[in-house]
């Protein structure tokens, strides 16, 4: 089951469903890398609200997506990590170091907008 990627302006949005397998996550990573170039996107949002578990493979792949996107010139925000999912990640020792997170889609979009405004302000 592949994850559809929605395009909203300069931002790509993927909402992950709970039955996502590790292979689907790798597919999502490749799709993002491709579409960031095709649509000249500046931001990527991965919505994991529906995910009941984030295991070590998933956290590693989310980090890979964020870093690949960064190398392609886009800023990634992971949104919607549920309270018990966050708690279980802490217990197991899983981290999303270096990946921006936000409470929900709305906060994620605001975070990307702020990031884009900052980068525009830096242009001389």
């Amino acid at each position: 089951m592949s994850v559809p990627i929605l395009k909203q302006g300069q931002v790509l949005i993927a909402s992950i469903q709970s039955a996502l397998s590790d292979q689907d996550l790798l597919q999502l990573r490749d799709d993002f890398a491709d579409q960031i170039g095709r649509f000249r996107s500046r931001g990527v949002i991965i919505d994991v609200t529906a995910l009941d578990v984030l295991n070590s493979f998933a956290t590693r792949t989310l980090r890979a997506i964020a870093y690949t996107a960064k190398l392609r010139g886009a800023y990634t925000v992971v949104v919607g990590i549920q309270p018990d999912v966050a708690f279980s990640m802490v217990q197991l020792g899983l981290t999303l170091d270096g990946v921006a997170t936000a409470l929900d889609l709305e906060e994620g979009l605001a975070s990307i907008k702020a990031q884009l405004d900052r980068s525009r302000a830096n242009v001389p």
Partner: protein
């Protein structure tokens, strides 16, 4: 009392099935949402290891009842290559390259009891227990 659940693990999608069945069984045994998530996460880590290193194996999930305490028993068996150095495999951050190296030590940390045995060329068995609080 809920019956035993068996899940054959041989491909990626089976990891999802295993963690969903583990969550369902732990819910039916009375575990709260936090514990259900932790049990599902531990199951997905050891099932991931089977797919990555042994290709094929199976999981048995069953209720535990010792009268004064009740819980869930998770046994994962494979006939894979086995783990040459268990002490090393259980060390945080150690991996032969296909993972973060947090799966096994992480699963051990979140479960109440954890045992792993492995014979080179014969396979690996992981036994985990979590008791109801």
């Amino acid at each position: 009392m809920s019956p035993e659940v068996h899940v054959v693990i041989e491909r990626d999608g089976d990891i999802v099935t295993a963690r969903q069945k583990g969550r369902a069984l732990s819910a039916s045994l009375g575990f709260g949402n936090n514990d259900q998530t932790i049990i599902a996460l531990a199951i997905s880590e050891i099932a991931r290891n089977i797919v990555s290193y042994a290709q094929r194996g199976h999981l048995t999930l069953s209720p535990l009842d010792e009268g004064v305490r009740r819980g869930i028993l998770i046994v994962a068996r494979d006939q894979g290559p086995g783990i040459p150095d268990l002490e090393l495999a259980m060390r945080d951050g150690y991996s032969t390259g296909r993972s973060l190296g947090v799966g096994l030590p992480g699963a051990k940390r979140v479960m109440d009891e954890f045992d792993i045995s492995s014979t080179l060329g014969l396979g690996t068995t992981v036994t985990m227990k979590k008791w109801l609080p």
